[in-house]
Subunit: 267 residues, 2 copies
DNA sequence: GATGAAGCGGATAGTTGATATCCACTTCAG
DNA sequence: CTGAAGTGGATATCAACTATCCGCTTCATC
């Protein structure tokens, strides 16, 4: 998985000096405007923190950057293999920092998820863009489904983080970026005549959801079983005259079935 | 949905008089063997309460029977539309009884779920048995998938209650009853030559799981979208020469897609 | 129709697992 | 060296749940 926090400095905390800049760690006791470093404004671009802050950037302390990186990294991993129910305590522990530090960087859980949002969105959009490079748009479609399915198998949050963001702005953003890509891909694919005309762009997210669900069911026993059902769905979506594709994954054996169910209970 | 608690007296509390019969509501304070009415033994057949207790049955008070019925009924409904995370407080409220009464009838949450287990198992096995009456086993298979899918759309717990029971005995019981039925159905269906040979009995529960998942995704917006993907899978599983079935459900519109996602957040 | 064992309701104690705060201490940039 | 900024983690707080206890009610029985 791509490394969220390191690399380009874009994730480094680095705000424009303008306005009510905060980061007041510990004024003695009382005080009116506590002015925590978190977002006080309920405003729009919570996660939009990342811009390089063109002007007047105060120098960023090394440890601050490092901690933020660690936090994002840990959040990324945590969410990837346990879904969206991360606890900020757990996050702190995994990141090797104190809880206080978490709250210095993020107002609350939602803010953490917001920060992960763009990362996922970029990754998904990328896959769609790669699909455009295939000469055969059907291959492009397969690329999207299998690549995103694969990604999702290692990252339960890939879609959840997008589906469950509370900010309508972010949802709109996801829609605006992904919808045209999906539509264009599906149109080209249908133009080949090798796809049933009923296939629709919205079938793509649904199929990916199916991948995820199958993985939830049996991922512990057979991490690639999702492929079977995607291949199947693709055969179902193929035009009448198209030959069946080979199913690359065998069904669960009864024994595996039992193991999968038995494993369901503990998270 | 079938009424779980009323009808035949099989759900009435009614234990053999033998052994350490309990039901001690309130001995003054201390006392060694508190002997609550719940299961003290960690043993096997927790839910097997229901036998008519052939001999020496003490007469059952009307209110006891009524309350137990109410509880089972409420539990059934609660679990059907919110999944397995029922709280026993909530259960009591919905059943119109006090929490104390819940604990008089069931040792804990697990015991409640156990009591619901057989009910679901019976229902599922029934559908498989109905499938045997179809002359065309493929129709039988469709019957199973669509009928159980339908049931599941109105009962989130239909499979969960089976999948998540902590008692291995119950799991074994489910397996022993359902597996042969599924295998026989699939064998007959494949014998027609109209099904891909790759189709396996374990594909059935997986497809039902897919139904459930699709329903989780979009059930609020389109309670029957799951059919689309089952139809699709069936087309994928049809032998090469079989004609495509008509898809009876249109895909989500982009607008519905958004609504579905937006609706995801609150439970 | 009187009686007491059995059952009931629901306040409440206890538990868990999370969020969020505070402040003594550490670290870094200048 | 210094102090502003940042940090860790004990702790307060909260919400939701499980489970208990006991005064009161109901029912089967006589």
């Amino acid at each position: 998985m791509a490394d969220l926090a390191n690399g380009a400095g874009r994730t480094v905390r680095n705000e424009p000096a303008s306005g009510a800049d905060r980061a007041v760690p510990n004024e003695p006791a009382s005080g009116a405007g506590r002015a925590v470093p978190n977002e006080p404004a309920s405003g729009a671009d919570r996660a939009a923190r990342s811009e390089p802050a063109s002007g007047a950037g105060r120098t960023v302390r090394k440890d601050v950057a490092r901690n933020r990186a660690r936090l994002l990294d840990a959040a990324d991993k945590l969410v990837a293999d346990s879904g969206l129910d991360l606890s900020l305590n757990e996050l702190a522990k995994r990141a090797g920092v104190g809880v206080g530090t978490v709250y210095r960087h993020f107002a609350d859980k939602e803010a953490v998820l917001s920060a992960l949002f763009e990362h996922r969105l970029d990754a998904i959009a990328d896959v769609f863009r790669q699909a455009q490079d295939f000469d055969d748009p059907i291959e492009g479609l397969r690329h999207v489904l299998f690549t995103l399915g694969e990604m999702q198998a290692g990252d339960r949050a890939l879609f959840q983080v997008m589906a469950s963001t509370k900010s309508p702005e972010q949802r709109a953003m996801a829609r605006d970026r992904l919808q045209p890509l999906a539509r264009e891909l599906v149109e080209r694919a249908k133009a080949t005549g090798r796809l049933r005309p009923e296939f629709a762009p919205t079938d793509i997210p649904l199929l990916l959801w199916v991948s995820m669900s199958v993985n939830d069911y049996s991922g512990g026993v057979r991490p690639d079983l999702w492929r079977r059902y995607i291949e199947l769905a693709l055969d179902g979506f193929a035009a009448q005259d198209q030959p069946r594709q080979r199913l690359t994954v065998t069904p669960l054996t009864p024994q595996e079935m039992e193991d999968a169910i038995a494993g369901w209970n503990r998270p």
